[in-house]
């Protein structure tokens, strides 16, 4: 079923990480990504891994689910690893045959990059696994609020995002239904050459597009008839609140990140 690959990959359990304020989670993920790229020693990378491990452990998300998040970019990781391994020329060669030469630094760099990339993906999927799309847009809206000063339409942007997110499952369902309906009329999406296959998609895409427009019209009518006028004077049903949980999470994470920064500084200025 199409739904399986749906990106709404929220993992519905109740946990410490699930209850964190989405703004805090967003900030932590950004900091985490920065930390990963600051880490150039194994100790620093270890600290990142520890942070990730904490996150996974306190989220009650199945470890396999987190690991699986790498799958879509596995090819990218392997591809870049091969390139790094072959073309990184500094250091002493440990292996050389034909025109290929692999150095010790190349191996180190390759592993480092692969680990970084995997941790980056796992860290950011932990965010989407533990935060509902609605909470996520709320968080983004709240974090972008300062941009209102320069007339950036923060609320509208958030509204567009949440409508889009809201309708992804609906459109997925609709797609499933239309595919089934056309299959029932003997449609065949699997055989033939590329042109034939692309053409076979028309009976799905056209009804889907039409229904998307229909839904958009209905939705705007519904908003109009409820006197929706945009951000001015709107209140929220669920107010975001920073609690002791967020303080603890921030405290732990910032300490670990401080360690990474100190580690980096020490590497840059060995004299200290």
């Amino acid at each position: 079923m199409l739904r399986d690959v749906a990106f709404g990959q929220y993992y519905p359990v109740d946990s410490y990480v699930h209850r964190l304020d989405p703004r805090v989670k967003l900030i932590l993920v950004v900091l985490f990504i920065a930390a990963i790229f600051l880490s150039s020693s194994w100790a620093a990378l270890g600290a990142c891994a520890l942070l990730l491990l904490f996150g996974v452990a306190f989220s009650r998300v199945a470890v396999s689910k987190v690991l699986k998040s790498i799958k879509p970019i596995l090819f990218l990781i392997i591809f870049s690893a091969v390139l790094n391994l072959l073309f990184y020329r500094e250091g002493t060669p440990v292996l050389s045959f034909w025109i290929i030469q692999i150095t010790d630094r190349a191996i180190r760099f390759t592993v480092l990059m692969a680990v970084r990339l995997s941790m980056l993906i796992m860290g950011s999927s932990l965010l989407t696994l533990t935060t509902t799309p609605v909470a996520l847009t709320d968080g983004i809206e709240s974090l972008l609020k300062p941009l209102k000063a320069v007339r950036f339409p923060v609320h509208e942007l958030a509204l567009i995002m949440s409508i889009a997110l809201r309708f992804i499952p609906t459109l997925m369902e609709e797609t499933d239904r239309i595919i089934n309906a056309q299959k029932a009329r003997g449609a065949d999406f699997e055989s033939g050459n590329i042109v034939a296959r692309a053409k076979a998609l028309l009976p799905i895409l056209i009804p889907l597009l039409i229904s998307a427009f229909r839904r958009a019209n209905e939705l705007s009518d519904a908003m109009d008839s409820r006197c929706y006028t945009g951000s001015k004077g709107r209140t929220k049903m669920k107010k975001l609140k920073v609690t002791y949980r967020d303080h603890i999470a921030l405290f732990v994470s910032l300490n670990i990140m401080a360690f990474i920064i100190i580690d980096k500084v020490m590497a840059l200025f060995p004299a200290i």
Partner: protein, 300 residues
């Protein structure tokens, strides 16, 4: 052509936190010539069940045999099966896509015919003529004027017309069993009545077996010869309308709505006027009352 369902279970999204057991050990026989009704509350698994009949969904457990053949088996001819078991989904008009009514209705037939591509190349004229004949037949069958409508855009039609075109797009394959998921949903009373009349026509002259899901008990009771009640993925019972709507206990227990005529006659029974048969629509009710009045000599 019959459908035999044995120990059928189905789970959506197995092995995920979203796993949902939609069908649980279903056993069912739909015989040749049945007008088979399926009723049940929303989310009870009706749509999931019927999508097994033409292998749009494969069972998690158990099997479905259509005309003795198991579509889940390797090498089963799904295209053949899907042309034999025509499936009209809920709101079928939302699946219209072609530029003209003709092309939309022809879609199913052309797909089906593609199998014999060689034949098609050898004689394209015959294929064209045959397509036209079949499309004309299907459009006429659903009560529309072929010449008037064939070149129109399906999106310019009224709701009821769209639905007819969508049904024509299924019966163009000459199915032997027609499955309809809430065919009258969202139509006005006249549209509903017209669709039902159409189904009877179809059953008489075209596809002898019809399976219909509906929430409308008046429709189900006055049209079907057998009714399956499904609740939380399980078949509760399969009965004739008379048996089903006489069983007060079952009706109460499962919260089944009853047709309006039945409700009236149950009130009459409470007043001491009982009949040995239940009516399922206004005409039948009037007929029964008329007879009784004549018997009692109160009406000359």
């Amino acid at each position: 052509m019959s459908i035999i369902v044995k120990h059928l279970s189905f789970v959506y999204n197995p092995n995920t936190p979203f796993a949902k057991k939609a069908l649980n050990d279903i056993n069912l026989v739909i015989e040749d010539g049945d007008f088979f009704g399926i009723i049940g509350h929303t989310g009870s698994g009706k749509s999931t069940l019927v999508q097994h009949f033409n292998a749009l969904i494969k069972p998690s457990r158990g099997n479905v045999r259509v005309d003795g053949m198991d579509p889940a088996e390797k090498g089963a001819d799904l295209r053949e099966l899907r042309s034999n078991v025509g499936m009209v989904f809920q709101y079928p008009e939302y699946q219209l896509f072609a530029e003209t009514v003709f092309d939309d209705v022809a879609f199913g037939f052309r797909n089906y015919y593609k199998r014999s591509k060689k034949e098609l190349k050898r004689d394209p004229d015959r294929f064209k003529a045959e397509t036209e004949e079949r499309v004309r037949e299907a459009i006429t069958m659903v009560g529309l004027d072929y010449e008037k409508i064939k070149d129109k855009s399906p999106f310019d039609l009224s709701g009821g017309q769209k639905r007819r075109v969508a049904i024509a797009g299924v019966i163009v394959m000459r199915p032997k069993i027609l499955v309809l998921d809430e065919p009258t949903a969202g139509l006005d009373p006249r549209g509903k009545a017209e669709i039902l009349r159409l189904l009877h026509e179809l059953k008489k002259n075209y596809c002898p077996t019809i399976v219909m899901i509906s929430h409308n008990m008046n429709e189900i009771a006055s049209n079907c010869n057998k009714i399956a009640v499904i609740s939380e993925g399980k078949i509760i019972c399969v009965r004739s309308p008379q048996e089903l709507f006489s069983d007060d206990e079952l009706i109460r227990e499962k919260g089944i709505e009853v047709p309006e005529a039945v409700r009236l006659f149950k009130l009459l029974r409470q007043k001491g006027i009982s009949f040995d048969r239940l009516p399922f629509n206004a005409e039948e009710a009037a007929g029964l009352l008329f007879e009784r009045l004549k018997e009692e000599g109160k009406y000359a």
